[in-house]
Symmetry: C2
Subunit: 206 residues, 2 copies
């Protein structure tokens, strides 16, 4: 018996491809491939072809760098959205998260990550250039930083803040504080400390 | 804003395809699709094409019904394996599990499941017919039942046992007992009871 116990090379390659995906080990990969084998051929073909087609056809909005089916995404193309207000986010998942709140009427700018020297990601790896162009144009009134509240997120916030300082644009950041539904006892001290410093007039929370 | 917050139809279809896989929800599906989008196009194409190719080309061994790259799988084709000894299993994962023990020198027969009226699986949905043909041929000396130790597994064992009774074939089942490494205290009473009834001469365990 060989060390590989797969009964088929085809099966093994498919398992290896699935196992390259994040959070999917060999056992889960095998379960997924066997599931596709139990389905009608057409179901498995549809799965594969949808992925191929998606990767082939998908575009990134030339303005905000969000994923899009067209050159300009539906948010940037929406005349009802305020294009003087730009919310800077890391990824398209953050766009989806903010959109689902239905609280934001401006447009986005997807950076594609945060500055992280540990992972070898510098400012040039992000879409900071195009963002700076937008600000230089003078059409932007406010930039909202909505990055992760991590060291890397904070570094990126500060980098952008310094870049934008000399232009006539307001820079804000989303509020940090105790999450709705959280118990104070279990809130970390940095968050709790900041939420005391940045306390709000009670009327504002009504 | 629409209820769907996906910025792209292509993305949404790909997420939906992934979310059809067992144990993969919409959030995980999105994470996997975005991972494929971050990769080079060729990586995503290779993923999709490997799946397509696998589903297109894969075969089932005409003798044991195991997954195979050829008409007869490498186990059935192996002249060193004892083809008078057949181990009956539910799925190819069980073949892989038993092969990895390196303790079995016979061949397999993959049933494709167990009899389960609750799931609408009857004897005709399994590969019981071809197994019976093999036994009728008189070439088989022993059939080992290695099905799950569930109600459905036991039902299937009993069904097969009754079918094979009139032929000159020994029927055995894999040992049930306390797993190696288990503590008696935490072993369920059925297993513990059976392991007392089916106790072995100590010399056999040496």
């Amino acid at each position: 018996m060989t060390t590989s116990s797969y009964p088929s090379k085809l099966l093994e390659s498919a398992v290896n491809e699935f196992a390259k995906l994040p959070g999917i080990g060999k056992k889960t990969a095998l379960r997924l491939v066997l599931h596709l084998l139990r389905q009608e051929k057409e179901m498995a073909f549809k799965f594969a072809d949808t992925i191929h087609h998606m990767r082939q056809e998908i575009m990134y909005c030339k303005s905000c760098h969000n994923i899009s089916d067209s050159e300009t995404c539906h948010i940037c193309a929406d005349a009802n959205r305020d294009n003087t207000l730009i919310c800077v986010v890391e990824s398209i998942r953050d766009v989806m998260a903010i959109e689902s709140t239905q609280q934001f009427t401006g447009i986005y700018h997807v950076l594609g990550g945060v500055i992280s020297p540990m992972d070898g990601i510098g400012p040039d790896d992000l879409t900071i250039g195009p963002l700076l162009e937008k600000i230089k144009s003078g059409d932007v009134k406010e930039v909202i930083f909505a990055l992760s509240t991590t060291m890397e997120g904070d570094t990126t916030n500060f980098y952008l803040y310094k870049k934008f300082e000399k232009y006539n644009v307001a820079t804000t950041t989303i509020a940090r504080g105790v999450s709705i539904g959280d118990e104070l006892e279990y809130t970390d001290e940095v968050t709790l400390g900041r939420s005391l410093i940045n306390r709000l007039p009670f009327e504002k929370t009504l």
